[in-house]
């Protein structure tokens, strides 16, 4: 199991601009030996310097290597249009959420009156149906991990075809936006399948 110190070390490294992966190798005695960062779209010299500084705080003897990803992590070619979240509003007066999605320039709007969390997920499913997609899933649960903003929201859907669960997770400043994005996240494979045939 990773120590708390090593976890925080890796978290700090991953917080550096452009860092996409951190690989850590250990000596036989468990000490951190070599740290390899995989960096994209940034000045790797700057990142190397910053990472080396962080390394001196946690593991002064560790060697820090920075690999430049260059174009390796570029988006795949040939991807079709994607379902995008355009807007999510909550009317506190009537308690109705409205979610607007777009797909290939077409808008889809869904509404639901169950509050920002559950309503956000329900309105997103409704917006997908408004776009013309058959969405064979039912909403099982929407949970935010804490009662403050900026904490993750997890949406659980159940497939009507095979009873399997789909989980989606997202976080943002607002529960409604998180719920809408987490719903799309849970449907990511389903939606990409649609898009292949779109």
């Amino acid at each position: 199991m990773m120590s708390r110190t090593e976890e925080d070390f890796e978290l700090e490294l991953r917080s550096l601009p452009g860092v996409m992966n951190v690989g850590i190798s250990h000596r036989d005695n468990g000490d951190v030996d070599v740290v390899t960062l995989f960096v994209s779209g940034q000045d790797s010299t700057q990142t190397r310097n910053a990472a080396s500084q962080i390394g001196t705080l946690y593991y002064p003897d560790a060697v820090v290597i920075v690999d430049d990803a260059k174009t390796a992590m570029a988006p795949r070619e040939g991807e079709g249009p994607r379902v995008a979240l355009v807007r999510a509003d909550f009317n506190a007066t009537d308690g109705v959420c409205e979610v607007q999605l777009s797909y290939a320039g077409r808008p889809g709007v869904g509404r639901a009156g169950s509050g920002p969390l559950i309503g956000g997920a329900e309105a997103t499913l409704a917006a997908l149906r408004d776009l013309g997609f058959a969405v064979p899933f039912s909403l099982m649960a929407v949970v935010n991990v804490a009662t403050v903003n900026n904490w993750p929201v997890i949406v659980t859907l159940r497939s009507l075809a095979d009873d399997a669960y789909r989980f989606g997770i997202a976080e943002s400043d607002e529960d409604l936006v998180s719920a809408a994005r987490a719903t799309l996240d849970a449907l990511n494979r389903f939606l990409s399948g649609l898009e292949d045939h779109g």
Partner: protein
């Protein structure tokens, strides 16, 4: 509630392997049931989460634990989880904490998901793993952000106050000595006014970094205000703070940072064992040195 009633409650809530678990529908519809050992349920994943929670808190370490469990379960030779995070952007984690190489990224691209070699894990299970990993990363960041200053990555005021409370309580109870140091950067406002806020932030970042290097393991360094920092030197009487300030100046100098600072100190239990009183004494001494009347 006494112990026996707690035991009875726990016994009552204990799930048997094939017991039906009610799942409440969020919109108030009729509750449904699923079997914990059902085909699409991933009990190993949740068991791993419970084990990890019992030993620590979910964080980056959990992601590697899950990848190891996944590899053991399906005899995988490699596994990578790619996460998309608001604060971090795209992040990939590879089995065993290995480095992701360009050849690997050609395979995984930028799409969030779990990529296994061989590709034998169901999409549903991959999505469950990805969600659990995403949650762990978010929780780790939230925990770190709640206790650390975003600019300097040293402890924030809340974290520092908590550390000072603990140190003071131990000092009062056992007589263990520690020194509280309050540090104020000289003429910081002028730097901000003359060179701009970005330069000011850079200076604070550099100072925070030098501070982290200057403290010993077991000490606490924090940013407690705009240009105000504080340190708890464990097991140290007041005069030992001179060694700390020398180290701090040396690290600042090595970084080419010529910022001047003033310190005020208070030592527990000699000066007081009350955290507020210690802060007041250290502040007063700081402002005396600066030649400013402290209110």
């Amino acid at each position: 509630m006494n112990d026996s009633s707690v035991d009875a409650l726990e016994e009552e809530n204990e799930l048997q392997p094939d017991e039906q678990v009610p799942v409440t529908s969020p919109n108030g519809a009729t509750p449904e049931s699923v079997t914990p050992s059902g085909e699409h349920y991933e009990p190993w994943l949740f068991q791993t989460m419970l084990n990890e929670l019992s030993e620590s808190e979910l964080g980056i370490g959990f992601i590697y634990t899950v990848l190891e469990q996944l590899a053991a379960r399906y005899e995988l030779s490699d596994a990578v989880v790619v996460l998309a995070h608001d604060s971090f952007g795209t992040q990939s984690f590879r089995l065993g904490g290995q480095t992701v190489t360009p050849e690997i990224t050609d395979v995984i691209g930028t799409e969030p998901g779990v990529y296994c070699d061989p590709d034998v894990v169901s999409e549903v299970e991959c999505d469950a793993v990805r969600t659990a990993c995403q949650l762990s990363l978010s929780l780790h960041l939230a925990r770190f952000s709640a206790t650390h200053d975003a600019l300097t990555n040293i402890a924030n005021r809340r974290n520092f106050d908590s550390a000072l409370q603990i140190a003071s309580a131990r000092s009062a109870r056992y007589g263990w000595a520690f020194t509280l140091i309050i540090i104020d950067l000289n003429d910081f406002k002028e730097v901000n006014d003359r060179l701009g806020h970005d330069a000011g932030d850079d200076l604070l970042r550099q100072f925070g970094f030098a501070l982290r290097r200057a403290v010993r393991s077991g000490d606490t360094a924090a940013r407690v205000g705009g240009d105000e920092f504080a340190v708890i030197l464990s097991n140290a009487e007041g005069h030992e703070s001179s060694g700390f300030t020398e180290r701090l100046r040396a690290y600042l100098s090595a970084a080419g940072n010529s910022v001047e600072f003033t310190i005020g100190t208070a030592t527990s239990p000699r000066d007081s064992t009350d955290p507020s009183e210690l802060k007041r004494i250290a502040d007063t001494r700081l402002y005396e040195k600066k030649g400013v009347k402290h209110r």
